[in-house]
């Protein structure tokens, strides 16, 4: 009874202060969950009512059949593609990003890097295409395990809007995926043609009507800056490529070092053009092989120690290890040619086709992402 009576006697100002304090505490308690609530509202708002829907949206599982067992026809859905924007501040404009990965092997580091991206995960859709062979099955199993960890039991903030797994409908031309075998020159054309088909299949079945940006990220990219999407998008370029490096340990000095990895981002040269003119229709120009000297300017070698990470250079060919593309470039038809297109194939051919459609490519020589070292 004592404490109750003391309360009765307190000054009204004290009471008002008390209420204000309570409100402040409530605000403090609820504000983080308020932001989460907004994100989860967005997830719910983007959800489709039928499984027949763009794969970039989650969907509600029921509804396939009504209570009397009759099929409920899917609704008529309007998509306003005039409102799909691609700006230099995608986060503020709630622009959706589709991360596309042709998956040959699953690396835990790759997945951890994805999870640590700071771009709001409710705006990110992941899509994978995996070959139907033994390696592919293993990769699928590993991937699915991680997915269920993240999407079902993980913190809501880390969950992605939607995830699509596709199994490829053709066999990869090479049985072995080892680095040495993969890079043999005579194997390159068939390998990259198959790779192009895989990329195109993944792209054109998942793009949907609401994607703003497409980020191509190879499954062996294990380290990127966490703000990769924001950083690349802030340049507001139709096609933009960071420089792909590989960390290694110098066998002699036992020191950690890094070396350029992707040689497909380049500026064209007169020599390469002449080489191309002398070639047959079905021959391709390749980069990084001693018996085909093209004298192109390779972005891999333009890196400066402690250089400006925002420095831009124009490119004629791009690599696909990490590559941010405005969705409208792909929608206009720019794809990865599985055939020699101006003697170029896959990502390099893509840059050329985009150019034919009026879109140019840009490189960031000092902005690095890192490739797995086998």
């Amino acid at each position: 009874m004592g404490p109750a009576r003391s309360l009765r006697r307190t000054n009204p100002i004290t009471i008002i202060v008390g209420i204000a304090l309570c409100i402040v505490i409530l605000v403090f308690l609820l504000s983080p969950s308020g932001a989460d609530a907004a994100a989860s509202e967005l997830r719910k708002a983007n959800a489709a009512s039928n499984p027949l829907s763009p794969p970039t949206s989650p969907f509600r599982k029921e509804n396939e059949k009504s209570s009397n067992g009759k099929r409920i026809p899917p609704p008529v859905v309007h998509y306003y593609m005039n409102n799909v924007t691609t700006t230099n501040s995608p986060e503020a404009n709630r622009e959706t990003v589709l991360i596309l990965t042709p998956l040959a092997r699953f690396y835990q580091e790759y997945w951890d890097n994805l999870l640590s991206l700071t771009y709001p995960h409710e705006l990110i859709t992941l899509a994978f295409i995996i070959p139907k062979n033994r390696d592919g099955n293993a990769a699928t199993a590993a991937l699915q395990e991680q997915i269920s960890k993240t999407q079902k039991t993980g913190p809501e903030k880390k969950r992605f809007a939607s995830i699509i797994i596709e199994r490829q409908d053709f066999e990869p031309p090479l049985a072995s995926q080892s680095e040495a075998e993969r890079h043999k020159m005579e194997n390159q054309k068939a390998r990259r043609a198959a790779m192009s088909k895989a990329r195109n299949s993944l792209l054109f079945t998942t793009l949907g009507p609401s994607t703003s940006w497409v980020l191509w990220l190879d499954s062996d990219i294990i380290e990127t800056p966490h703000s990769l999407i924001q950083d690349l998008a802030s340049h507001d370029k139709p096609i933009i490529v960071p420089n792909c490096f590989q960390r290694y340990q110098d066998p002699k000095t036992k020191q950690d070092k890094e070396r350029p990895y992707d040689f497909n981002s380049w500026q064209d040269s007169e020599t390469a053009r002449k080489l191309g003119e002398g070639m047959g229709n079905d021959d391709i120009l390749l980069e990084g092989y001693a018996d085909m000297a093209t004298y192109r300017t390779l972005m891999a070698y333009l890196v400066e120690d402690n250089g400006d990470t925002t420095q831009e250079i124009p490119l004629d060919g791009v690599g696909g290890t990490a590559l941010l593309v405005k969705a409208e470039v792909h929608r206009d038809g720019a794809m990865f040619p599985p055939f020699p297109f101006y003697h170029l194939i896959e990502t390099e051919g893509f840059a050329k086709m985009a150019k034919r459609l009026g879109w140019s490519a840009t490189g960031l020589p000092n902005y690095k992402v890192y490739h797995y070292n086998e």
Binding site: G2, R5, S6, L7, R9, P12, I15, I19, C22, I23, L26, V27, L30, S33, G34, D36, A37, S40, K44, L52, P55, P58, F59, R60, K61, E62, R71, P73, V77, M81, N82, K132, I147, E156, R159, A161, S162, I163, I164, I165, E166, R167, Q168, D169, K197, N200, S201, F204, T205, T206, G208, H330, R331, D332, G333, M335, F336, P338, F339, R356
Partner: protein, 485 residues
């Protein structure tokens, strides 16, 4: 227990029973205990209300429940959302009897100012025999100034709400996207030579946007269909599918008015490549686009349209290189591997012809059916309209002439009919006169012998007019001449 009020700071001399009193804004005013309690209750309620209201303004989207549960329950609904999809693309390759394997078709139709054709198109949709729930519809409406969009939504809503469970289709997407179309859509500017290249590139762009937004990993086939097809077999999807080709098109003709020959090949974009055309392509600029059906580019290619035999085998196939876009059935894997409608000059071709070329480049089979025909709507061209106006004028002139002639004949007849009657009258009168004269003479000669002959002679000229015309004319003329002589 000691009363706490002794230690209270309110010691202004006025004695109050603090024990009876709880919180009050003005503790020194003496009020009856019951009224005080009521007021306190009100104030407390007001306080709670204020907190709640404040909460609503700060977190407008959050339900009361989530405030009280501190957000722990708010994510409950998310567990019902499916976020992971798994597809095996080897299950959606497309086979000859897709309807038995429940293979899904994506039907794509690009639309621009197509209001007038929509009802006709929906009658085709109603009639398709391929299971409707296996067909997903995707429309791209761009730069339309008429009521295409509202009418399309209305018709689709009706279609999905149809009583007949076999009628509604699968996923339905209406995509709105404007490309800032500058080229006019009327027949003349659509088919003028100069505008072709840029027009075809814009068309290609629209098709690519539509396909890339609507193609899903569960599609086995993609069917492109123009809305201005007037007549097509209901079984067209199965008919084309049975051939099990990567890309297949029927022959497209159009009906014509009789004066233009009754019918005509319409789609000239389905053709086989020729040496002449390849040589021509080599001479052209990188961005040039070869278009068929124009004198500027004589390609001498065999066209699917011209090979039609109305009594030929409808299953006969012909390998082609360029493809027309009126009605294309293609396996989805063709589009998945990257074949699209080039919006740039690809091997000197754009849009559907470039699509055919690119499919061939990737070793897909591209086939046309010369004797399987669908009919495009006949829209008269400006020339046709001019010609039809001329014909109409001619026809009117002819009619007028005919009318004038009839009128003239009637007039002439009228003019001649009157004198004829007059003639007859005159004739009889004159004859009567003549008779009378004759009689008078006879009377005068015979005196008063035959007075009864009068009525007999007066009836006589009336009866023999027709039979004795010849003789009488002679009579009359002689009679007529008499007075003059």
């Amino acid at each position: 227990m000691l009363p706490r009020h002794h230690g209270s700071s309110y010691s202004n001399g006025k004695k109050h029973d603090y024990e009876e009193k709880t919180y009050s804004i003005s503790p020194h005013r003496s009020t009856p205990p019951a009224a005080r309690k009521r007021r306190q209750l009100l104030i407390r309620l007001g306080g709670v209300l204020a907190v709640l209201l404040f909460g609503f303004f700060v977190w407008p989207g959050v339900s009361i429940l989530s405030i009280f549960s501190f957000g722990f329950l708010s994510s409950g609904e998310d567990f019902q959302l499916e976020t992971v999809r798994y597809y095996d693309l080897s299950n959606v390759q497309g086979t000859a009897r897709g309807w038995e394997r429940e293979e899904r078709i994506l039907l794509c139709a690009p639309l621009r100012d197509a209001e007038s054709h929509l009802r006709m198109f929906f009658s085709h949709l109603h009639n398709f025999t391929y299971p409707h729930h296996l067909i997903d519809l995707a429309f791209l409406v761009s730069d339309s100034k008429d009521r295409t969009l509202p009418l399309l939504s209305e018709l689709l809503e009706q279609l999905q709400a149809d009583e007949d469970p076999k009628m509604p289709y699968g996923e339905i997407s209406i995509i709105e996207k404007d490309f800032g179309q500058k080229v006019n859509q009327d027949v003349e500017s659509r088919h003028g030579f100069a505008a072709q290249a840029s027009r075809r590139k814009l068309m290609a762009q629209a098709r690519n946007w539509l396909l890339s937004a609507a193609l899903r990993p569960y599609h086995s086939w993609v069917y492109w269909r123009d809305v201005d097809v007037e007549t097509a077999p209901f079984t067209i999807l199965e008919d084309l599918m049975r051939h099990n080709k990567d890309v297949i098109v029927p022959n497209v003709w159009r009906p014509l008015p009789d004066w233009l020959g009754g019918e005509q090949p319409y789609d000239l974009n389905s053709w086989q490549e020729s040496e002449t055309a390849l040589a021509l392509a080599d001479t052209l600029d990188e961005d040039a686009v070869i278009v068929e059906g124009y004198a500027e580019y004589a390609t001498w290619r065999p066209h699917l349209a011209y090979l039609r035999d109305p009594y030929g085998d409808p299953d006969m196939e012909m390998d082609i290189d360029g493809v027309g876009g009126v009605s294309i059935l293609a396996k989805a894997k063709v589009f998945r591997s990257g074949v699209h409608f080039p919006a740039f000059s690809f091997e000197k071709h754009a849009e559907t012809e470039g699509f055919g070329k690119m499919a061939k480049r990737m070793q897909f089979s591209v086939v046309g059916l010369p004797h399987y025909t669908i009919w495009h709507l006949y829209e008269p061209s400006v020339d046709d309209i001019r010609h039809m106006e001329e014909m109409e004028q001619e026809r009117q002139a002819r009619e007028q002439e005919e009318k004038d002639r009839v009128e003239r004949m009637k007039k002439i007849k009228d003019q001649f009919a009157d004198p004829n009657n007059q003639w007859e009258k005159d004739k009889t009168d004159i004859q009567n006169e003549a008779m009378k004269e004759k009689k008078a003479k006879e009377d005068a000669e015979a005196g008063t012998e035959k007075p009864a002959a009068g009525p007999e002679s007066s009836a006589k000229p009336e009866t023999p007019v027709g039979a004795l015309a010849e003789a009488k004319v002679e009579d009359v003329t002689t009679v007529k001449n008499k007075p003059a002589a």
